[in-house]
Amino acid sequence: MSRKTRKIPLHEIAHARAGDKGNTSNVSVWAYDPGDYPLIKAQLTADRLKAAFPGLIKGRVDRYELDHLHGLNFVLADALEGGVNTSLGLDSHGKSWSFLVLGLEIEVPDNRA
C-alpha cells in the first residue's frame, strides 16, 4: 500500500541557527516536535544540503546528530566566500544561512496534522 505524502517547508517543523568560524558555516536544525525529528533526520542529509546550494557551498558538508535533543548540526566548509573579513557579500557572517536551510522542503505523510 503506497502512502500519500506532501511537501512542506522545513520552516514549519523546525527552527535553526547559523554561526561562523573563518570560512566555515554551521547550521543547527531543531525539530519543534520530537515526533518530526525522524523525518527530518532521514531527509535532511549532508548530501541533500550540499546538492541544494551548489553555488554557495564550495567544500564538504558534515552532519552531527544530537538525537536526544532532536537536533542536527551541519558544518558547511568553504561556504562563506572566504569568511567575515574576506567576503564581499552583505551578510559576510552568513547569519542568513539558517533560513536558507529552513526554506528546504520535507516530505510528510498527507494525513499529518
Binding site: H15, G22, V84, L88
Partner: protein
C-alpha cells in the same frame, strides 16, 4: 553557588541591560565579551591608525556604566575589551575608576596574546588550504593567539577587581572565574568541560535570552526590545541554570538554549578551547521554572597541544556603494545599472580586484546574487537597490567604484535615487596554529 552575568556578547552590544545586571543581578562576576574575528581585525586597524586606540570603542561607556555598582555589590569584571591594545584599555579603566572615586580599584592587564613576532613568511594557514603567510600577498598587521584560563587565573588570584584581556577564547572568560571560585584542578577535564559549556552558552549575551531567535508566529519572544542579558547560576560541580532578571524582556527556554548550544560549534564531541576539549554531545537541557533552564551532562578531555592564532593582513580598503530603484520594472532598471557598472569598471579603472554586485531586495544576502537574478518570481519587488562592493589596496580604485555608482543618478537608468557610498580600511584574517609552550601570558596590576 556562583552567579555570573554576561553584559555583552559582541563588540557593539547594548549597554543599558548590562547596567541593569550590574545593579540588580547580585552577580559575583560580570563578563563583557566583545571580540570576534571581525572586531579583532578592527582593533588592529584602529591601532594602526592611532597607537593609543585599538581597544573596544565602547569600553569607556561600559566602565562608566557599571564600575560603581560592581564595587558596591562585590562584583568583579572580566572582559576582553582590550582587543588589540590591552595596556591602553587598562589605563583608561583606571582613569575612569579615579573619576568615579573608586580609589584602590585593582585593574589587571592580561597580555601575551600578541604573537605577531612568532608569525613568519612560512607559517601555514590551516583555514586557507594550508597556504603559507607569504602566499597571501598582503602584509601582516598583527597576530593574536587565543589565550585561555591560564592567562586569566593569575589575575583573579592576585585580587583584580577588573580583568582586561585581549584575545582569549570566549568561554575562558567565564570558566576562569568558575575555576577560581570552585577550586577546580587545571586537569579536571570533566569539570572544565562543564564550565566551558556555561561559558559557551553565556558568551553571546542575549543570544540565549531571546535575541537572534525571534521568528514571528513561530518563535515569539516577549519584550524583545527590552531584552535582558543572561545570568548563569553555577554549582560547585559545574551544573548550571541559565536565567535572566525577572523584569527584563526576552526569554530563556530549552529552545533558546539548544540553539545556542551548537552556535559556532562543529563536532559537538570536540569543542576545542585552549583549556579543554569539551564534549557537548550528551548535554541535557531541561526547564527548571519560568525563564530558568538547567544544563548538565557536558564533559571533557585533555586540552589541545596547539593554540589557534588569528593572523590579520592589511587588506587595503573596502568600498561599498549603492543606488535604489522603485516601482514598475525596478529590477530591470537595477540590472541595467549593474551591467553599466560592470562595463565601466574594468581592469583600467579598478585593477584586478573582484567586483561584487547584488540586487538588494531580490537576491543579495549571502552570495545568492548570481542564483536568482533571472527568476521571474522575484521580478516585482516594490523597490530594489543595487549594491556594489570591492576590496583593493588601491584607494583610487575604490574611489572610482563610488564615483561610477554615484554617476548612475544622472547617467544610468530612469528613477535611480538614494546613493550612498563609503570606503573603510580593511583587515583580512586567516588562522594558524602554534605550540602551547611558545605562549607566555603575563599580568600587570594597575591600581586606581
Amino acid at each position: 553557588m556562583l552567579r555570573l552575568g554576561c553584559g555583552s556578547g559582541f563588540s557593539s552590544d547594548r549597554l543599558g541591560p548590562a547596567i541593569d545586571l550590574a545593579e540588580k543581578g547580585r552577580l559575583d562576576y560580570l563578563v563583557f565579551e566583545t571580540i570576534g574575528e571581525r572586531t579583532m581585525a578592527f582593533g588592529h586597524r584602529d591601532r594602526k591608525a592611532d597607537p593609543r586606540r585599538g581597544y573596544n570603542p565602547q569600553l569607556g561607556q561600559r566602565m562608566r556604566g557599571v564600575l560603581k555598582a560592581c564595587r558596591r555589590n562585590g562584583t568583579r569584571v572580566v572582559t576582553n575589551m582590550g582587543v588589540a591594545n590591552v595596556a591602553a584599555a587598562a589605563e583608561l579603566t583606571v582613569a575612569i575608576a579615579r573619576e568615579l572615586g573608586l580609589s584602590g580599584l585593582k585593574v589587571a592587564a592580561v597580555e601575551g596574546d600578541d604573537v605577531t613576532a612568532m608569525i613568519g613568511p612560512e607559517t601555514r594557514l590551516f583555514d586557507h588550504h594550508d597556504k603559507r603567510v607569504d602566499e597571501v600577498g598582503l602584509a601582516v598587521v598583527g597576530a593574536n593567539v587565543y589565550l585561555g584560563v591560564d592567562a586569566i587565573l593569575p589575575a583573579l588570584e592576585a585580587g583584580a577587581d577588573v580583568v582586561i584581556t585581549g584575545r582569549v577564547s570566549d568561554p575562558s572568560l567565564f570558566l576562569a572565574p568558575i575555576m577560581h571560585r570552585c577550586g577546580w584542578r587545571r586537569d579536571d577535564w570533566e569539570r572544565l568541560g562543564r564550565g566551558t559549556l556555561v561559558g559557551h552558552l553565556m558568551e553571546c549575551g542575549m543570544q540565549i535570552t531571546g535575541g537572534y531567535y525571534a521568528d514571528p508566529g513561530r518563535k515569539d519572544v516577549p519584550g524583545l526590545a527590552r531584552c535582558g542579558y543572561p545570568i548563569a547560576e553555577v554549582e560547585e560541580g559545574g551544573e548550571a541554570v541559565i536565567t535572566k532578571l525577572a523584569d527584563a524582556g526576552g526569554m530563556v527556554s530549552p529552545r533558546t538554549v539548544k540553539e545556542q548550544l551548537l552556535y559556532e560549534v562543529h563536532d559537538p564531541r570536540a569543542y576545542l578551547t585552549p583549556d579543554v576539549t569539551a564534549d557537548f554531545s550528551k548535554v541535557n537541557v531541561g526547564e527548571a521554572g519560568a525563564n530558568r533552564v538547567a544544563v548538565s551532562g557536558a564533559s571533557g578531555r585533555a586540552q589541545p597541544e596547539t593554540l589557534k592564532v588569528t593572523v590579520g593582513f592589511d587588506g587595503g580598503f573596502y568600498a561599498e556603494a549603492g543606488v535604489s530603484y522603485a516601482g514598475p520594472n525596478a529590477v530591470a532598471r537595477a540590472r541595467l545599472a549593474a551591467n553599466i557598472l560592470r562595463e565601466r569598471l574594468g581592469p583600467d579603472e579598478i585593477g584586478s580586484a573582484p567586483l561584487r554586485i547584488d540586487l538588494v531586495g531580490v537576491n543579495a544576502l549571502h552570495a545568492t546574487a548570481d542564483l536568482a537574478i533571472d527568476d521571474p518570481d522575484t521580478s516585482m519587488p516594490a523597490d530594489v537597490r543595487i549594491r556594489a562592493a570591492m576590496r583593493s589596496a588601491d584607494r583610487a580604485a575604490c574611489e572610482m567604484l563610488l564615483w561610477e555608482t554615484e554617476s548612475l543618478l544622472c547617467c544610468g537608468p530612469a528613477g535611480g535615487g538614494g546613493y550612498r557610498g563609503q570606503i573603510t580600511p580593511s583587515v583580512v584574517t586567516h588562522s594558524a596554529l602554534i605550540p602551547r609552550g611558545a605562549v607566555k601570558p603575563s599580568v600587570r596590576m594597575l591600581v586606581a
